[in-house]
């Protein structure tokens, strides 16, 4: 599991330094693929419906559906390639690397025995913290979506590392449906974001038409 987790850590970090929106989406895709592989390794009974559903969630939805949903919008809009997920300066990069170190120290507190579980918690914590770093430094909807999806992926990774809770497949399926719906809403907002120009009348007490 550790080589996969190390690869996942790399996939979390690289898009922060290679500032294009394509790299961000490829990074999200790779996160999904790597989590599917980790799920495959961890799952003791891979041939259950729940096991297959987990593979679909990571290997299909998180790896391809989510990044492609956003990619199609940006490509259709002919968005310039450059997109800083965090501000391109030494302070941000130091913060990002500091967060990685902090996550590993944090994992040592939570999981006493060093090994796969500790690394998994450290990588998940890194994902959450770097996701927050992206959210805290960006106001552009696309970058915010990338930040939110990074956090969602990290949460899924942490959940993956715990003991199977034996919940019914229906709940697992419902969680997947909610995730897909969230992606659909993200896409919808990304499509509409280009037309948003906030006028003074919208912000203050301007004249508006009838509404519920």
């Amino acid at each position: 599991m550790s080589p996969l987790l190390v690869a996942l850590l790399g996939v979390l970090l690289v898009p922060l330094f290679v500032a294009t929106w394509r790299t961000s989406l490829i990074g999200l895709g790779f996160q999904g693929v790597l989590m599917a592989l980790i799920a495959r390794q961890l799952e003791s009974t891979p041939h259950t419906v729940g096991g297959w559903l987990a593979l679909v969630e990571f290997g299909v939805v998180r790896a391809f559906v989510a990044p492609l949903a956003l990619y199609s919008v940006l490509r259709a809009r002919k968005t310039p390639g450059r997109n800083d997920v965090i501000p391109p300066n030494l302070l941000s990069w130091t913060l990002a690397l500091g967060m990685v170190l902090m996550s590993f120290s944090f994992a040592e507190l939570l999981v006493v025995d060093s090994g796969g579980q500790q690394t998994l918690v450290a990588v998940a914590a890194t994902g959450v913290l770097l996701g927050f770093l992206v959210l805290a430094t960006q106001s552009d909807p696309f970058s915010q979506m990338v930040g939110a999806l990074r956090i969602e992926n990290a949460i899924a990774l942490l959940e993956l590392g715990g003991k199977p809770h034996g919940g019914p497949v229906a709940i697992q399926f419902a969680l997947l449906v909610v995730f897909v719906t969230t992606i659909a809403f993200f896409r919808w907002h990304l499509v509409n974001a280009v037309s948003v120009r906030v006028t003074e009348a919208d912000q203050g007490g301007g004249v508006e038409g009838p509404t519920l």
């Binding site: 939570l110 942490l158 715990g162 919940g167 907002h189 912000q203 007490g205 508006e208 509404t211």
Partner: protein, 477 residues
Amino acid sequence: MSSLALVLGPAMVSLGLGIRGVRARATLILVGTALVASVLAYVSALSPTTAPFLAGYVRVDATSRLFLAVINPIFFGISVYVWNRVATTPVLAAGMPGFVALALTFLAASNAVLIANHLFILWLALETTTLAAAPLIVRPGVPASQLASWRYLLFSSIALGLVMLGIVCLARSVEAGGSTPTFFLDQLESVSVVCTNNWGKLGLALIILGLGTKLGLAPMYSWLPEAYDQAPPAVTALLGAIQFNVALVVLLRVVHLFRPAHPTLVTFELLAMGLVSMVVSTVSIIATRNMKRLIAYASINHAGVIAIGLGIGKTASYGLLLYVVSNAFIKAILFLTAGKIKAHYLTKDTRQIAGLLKDLPYSGLFLMVGTFALLGLPPFGSFFGELLVLSALVGSGHLFVFAAFCVLITMTFVATGRTIFPMIWGEPRHSHTWPRQTFLSALPKLFFLFALVVLGIYIPPVVNRLVQQVAASVEGP
């Protein structure tokens, strides 16, 4: 079974709106479904508490019964308001099928949160309320509402992500304690190891931060004024009076898991979040001249009071619940009244509105009474609720918090009065001819007002018992 019907009924009607013949009657269907839901909610509220059923996934306890009886009538009131708006403004009818489908999904999910006994189902239902509400915030042709909807969705996604992370940490906490992980609330209540380790504490902190964001508590409150301001008033009422309470119920349930063994575990954190929220909202109330934003900031203020009450626990619990229930009705009255006022004056700028009691007598009256209740004046339930929270602050020795609370409440009182009172009693600035306000359009708000006064003057024994039961579950040992 009536509680289950409160989830399945609205959900099925929402799906049924896909049928073309049904869509033409969407508004009537909304009112009808909301009326049936209100009746069923009262049947549930009067029924005894049940043991978990449906394989343990559903549980109707005192908390479910109390809040079912609060949110469903409020939804009915909002649906009557919507029906009246569509009847008086026919151009709104075109978008009704979509609105009704999403609003009923929102209601079904809200009721599901209240009766769920499984943390994942609780989370799923809360997320569904968010996904149903996000498109409702958008008003066609108003770009700022699209931005507000996005910010609402983003903050809610992050907030609920934190809650999910917290739930996963709780499961790890149980696992680390040597027990089998479970997500059933009734089973977690009996697992004494919850939070005796770092995983448990981390889980609780994340859940409080996530739900605090949903409630509009500092530090992650900035989505709330924008979403409440930009959403249509009916949707703002849904968010402020219904979703707020549903998120609060989740917080009460989680706090209940920890309180028996650790009564003071998050006291400081909740007091700090509450006070900071009150400071932020007071400053914003002083600065704003936008009617809906003012009520939105008052919501943040209320969330602060609630966090403080929850932080103290013990003797504050009863007052806290009175305050919470009263505020649901206050917000419904104020947001719907703000909608009515905006529909007539076509502005939210408080400086452009004056002499409401002469211009729009019903709306002026509701704004006046709603503001009095908002400020915590007698004889409303909010007054007694606030008084009991203050008394508990003194009783528990939190004198600094008590002093800060009093100063902030006084500042809020002056700032709100300075902005709202000229709207009510001033001289009308322009001569307007309004269509006559019908009694029917005022009926839901009259009911909310009646409930507010009842909570302040005489609480019926059945309601009192219910509130006491919920308070007992919140206050811990």
